[in-house]
């Protein structure tokens, strides 16, 4: 077994910090690209969680691994779609500041 040295909690603390950094970035940043990057941080924190739990609690199973692979695939496609949307928003509004993109209101 390889899990000598680093305890599980370290991974979890890392993931939590990453998650809240992502949430903070998502809520405060005005640039759409940065927001997208924040989302990636959130997703990756979840990936770390999945892998850590898989490794430490159920070392003979592979579900966590597969799930994180799925998350990576989904994140990739999501990034593609999001960037396409952002490009279109830029063409329409000539800005990617999220505060100026507020047409969808009452």
């Amino acid at each position: 077994m390889m899990n000598t040295g680093i305890p599980l909690q370290y991974f979890l603390v890392l993931a939590t910090i990453m998650f809240f950094v992502g949430v903070y970035g998502f809520l405060t940043r005005r640039n759409l690209i940065t927001i997208l990057m924040s989302v990636e941080l959130i997703l990756n924190s979840v990936n770390i969680n999945l892998l850590a739990f898989n490794r430490y609690l159920y070392p003979h199973k592979l579900e966590g691994l597969f799930f994180s692979l799925f998350v990576i695939a989904v994140a990739a496609s999501e990034a593609a779609v999001a960037i396409a949307i952002i490009i279109n928003i830029y063409r329409r509004f000539t800005t990617i500041n999220v505060e100026n993109v507020n047409e969808m209101k009452y």
């Binding site: 809520l27 999220v98 505060e99 993109v101 209101k105 009452y106």
Partner: protein, 639 residues
């Protein structure tokens, strides 16, 4: 057996004509559409006469009885195994007789209309409506079951409405059409209730089963009793209510005089010869039920008929509008027919009243249609409805004069014209049944003659009125129907109805009862004499008599204020104390509730709409906060 299945085309042809003229009429030339409508009618007239010939003289009678033939039948609404509504064609003596009446009069009216309506706006619309009416009326008389009859009954009502309101730019015509529709519709509500009670009780809608004297519907008797009368009696009274409305009997007669706002040929067709006798036909159709299961309802029929005939005859004596006099005369004559049915028995000579009623229906259709068409020709020539604007017209309108005279003599019951025979049979039937009704009918016979000849002398004799231009005789399209109908009014009395159309479809012997006939002819002659003395020359007599019977005259002139009573009841009582509170409730409570819900929603949404700011990160913040709160809740507080 003769195959009568072709008779289904008799109502269908006018229907197809209606569709053709109604949908494509504006593309055709008016004259062509008129000719098309008339041509269709010519075909069904021929078919009707063939049917009558085959039915009465060629088809097999069983034990001397004309059979009821279901010539065509299809299931229209198969609701359940037991309850299914059929459409079909029923041939029996009265329906075949009605075929003749309807097709003949309708054909004549179509020809007449070609001349009368020439150049009117909506010529093809007029013919489309006439075809619709003919279709509905034929469907009504050929119906195999009571619901089919009801459907056509309403169709007849709507075509009457359309035709009365033909001049839809004239407010009085619009009012009259609405009045006719609403009054008859109200009466038809009674008819529907009657149908429902009747079919619930007898478990059948079919006429053949219903009216079979040995059948289950009659064998079960009157049923349980309710408020002193049996259920069957109630249902038949309700059914009769529909007949009262359609036939303009008292108290639902108010629509008929106003219906004269329609074109005159329409009055001749619908409001004199065909539709208004639908009530009589209805009672005749259900006659075995009336006589065996609900004799009390039959008494109602007799008294309503007798009262209406007297009532309308008195009013007719005071009116000055030619068409209105004829309208009241129609009410009066239909009252006669109702009375004859009411006093009739069943089978053989007992059923004299039934036969007399059908006979009078037939002859009346001829001479009343003729009278109306003559009135149309006169109005066409003089451009006025009031005979006070007429006088001395016999020189200008010789053909109209002659045919009008024949019709007057016929309705007055002067032998050997048609009215004499049928009226004599009715009086004879009344004599054997009820002396009171009999004497009422004698009085009505006198009044009838009087007001008809009052009309005649005022129009054709007397001093010549001042005309703007010389009146001239109508064109041939109008005079030919007059002549044909005059021949009908003169000769149809010789048709042996006692051999053909009887209560049990069996021939019986009946002779003219001279003890009844001679006094009635004398009364008729007296009526003519009175009319001649009063109106033959311009004298002051009529005004003096009117002055002597001042109040009676005023009462009759204003139609006994029945219209005003109706107005009072509807406007002052029903509208004020029922409709207005209901309207208030609707407007303030029901609508108020709905409006309240709407405005509360609107206010709330106005308040909270700022929430939807379009700011993506605000949404995300709310979402994250919510998620955190939920997480706290489920982790620490949920136990």
């Amino acid at each position: 057996m003769i195959n009568f299945s072709y008779t289904v085309w008799i109502p269908l042809i006018p229907f197809l004509m209606f569709l053709l003229l109604g949908l494509g009429g504006h593309k055709l030339k008016p004259k062509l559409s008129g000719l098309l409508g008339t041509g269709g009618l010519a075909v069904i007239t021929i078919l009707s006469y063939i049917t009558a010939y085959l039915y009465f003289f060629q088809s097999d009678k069983i034990e001397g009885t004309y059979q009821k033939i279901s010539a065509f039948s299809m299931t229209w609404l198969p609701l359940t195994d037991k309850l299914h509504i059929d459409l079909g064609v029923l041939l029996d003596p009265i329906s075949v007789m009605m075929l003749i009446v309807i097709s003949t009069v309708s054909f004549m009216v179509h020809i007449y209309s070609l001349g009368y309506m020439k150049g009117e706006r909506g010529f093809e619309r007029y013919f489309a409506f006439l075809s619709l009416f003919t279709f509905s009326m034929l469907g009504l008389v050929l119906a195999t079951n009571i619901l089919e009859m009801y459907i056509f009954w309403e169709l007849v009502g709507i075509s009457s409405y359309l035709l009365i309101g033909f001049y839809y730019q004239k407010p009085s015509a619009v009012r009259a059409s609405k009045k006719a529709f609403i009054v008859t519709r109200f009466a038809d509500l009674g008819f529907l209730i009657g149908i429902l009670i009747l079919s619930f009780n007898t478990k059948t809608l079919d006429f053949i089963t219903l009216t079979d004297p040995a059948g289950p519907a009659i064998a079960q008797g009157g049923g349980i009793s309710f408020m002193g009368l049996s259920v069957m009696t109630w249902s038949m009274i309700f059914v009769y209510m529909g007949g009262v409305g359609k036939s303009a009997m008292f108290p639902f007669h108010i629509w008929l005089p106003d219906a004269m706002e329609g074109p005159t040929p329409v009055s001749a067709l619908i409001h004199a010869a065909t539709m208004v006798v639908a009530g009589v036909y209805l009672v005749a159709r259900m006659f075995p039920i009336y006589i065996f299961s609900a004799p009390a309802a039959l008494e109602v029929v007799a008294y309503v008929g007798a009262f209406s005939s007297l009532f309308a005859a008195i009013i007719a004596c005071t009116q000055t509008d030619v068409k209105r006099v004829l309208a009241y005369s129609t009410i009066s004559q239909i009252g006669y027919m109702m009375l004859a049915l009411g006093v009739s028995g069943y089978g053989g000579h007992e059923g004299l009243g039934y036969m007399a009623s059908m006979f009078h229906l037939f002859t009346h259709a001829m001479f009343k249609a003729l009278l109306f068409l003559c009135a149309g020709a006169i109005i066409h020539a003089v451009h006025s409805n009031y005979f006070t604007d007429m006088g001395g017209l016999r020189k200008y309108l010789p053909i109209t004069h002659l045919t009008f005279l024949i019709a007057c003599l016929s309705i007055a019951g002067i032998p050997p014209l048609a009215g004499f025979f049928s009226k004599d049979e009715i009086l004879a039937a009344a004599l054997h049944h009820n002396r009171l009704l009999f004497s009422v009918e004698y009085a009505v016979a006198g009044l009838t003659t009087f007001y008809m000849f009052r009309l005649y002398f005022n129009i054709f004799w007397g001093s010549e009125a001042h005309y703007h231009h010389t009146p001239h005789e109508a064109p041939a399209t109008m005079t030919v129907p007059l002549i044909i109908l005059a021949i009908g009014s003169a000769l149809t009395g010789f048709i042996p109805f006692n051999k053909l159309v009887t209560s049990d479809s069996m021939a019986f012997e009946s002779n003219i009862e001279w003890t009844v006939a001679i006094p009635s002819v004398l009364i008729g002659l007296a009526g003519i004499a009175a009319a001649y003395v009063l109106y033959g020359k311009k004298t002051g007599f009529p005004d003096k008599i009117a002055a002597v019977f001042k109040y009676t005259y005023k009462l009759a002139y204003n139609k006994f204020y029945i219209d005003e009573i109706y107005l009072f009841i509807t406007k002052k009582i029903i509208f004020k104390y029922i409709s207005e509170p209901v309207a208030w409730f609707d407007r303030h409570i029901v609508d108020g509730m709905m409006n309240g819900i709407a405005s509360v929603t609107q206010i709330v949404s106005h308040r909270i709409r700022g929430f939807q700011s379009g700011q993506l990160q605000k949404y995300a913040f709310v979402f994250v906060t919510g998620a955190v709160l939920l997480a706290i809740f489920f982790i620490y507080l949920w136990r």
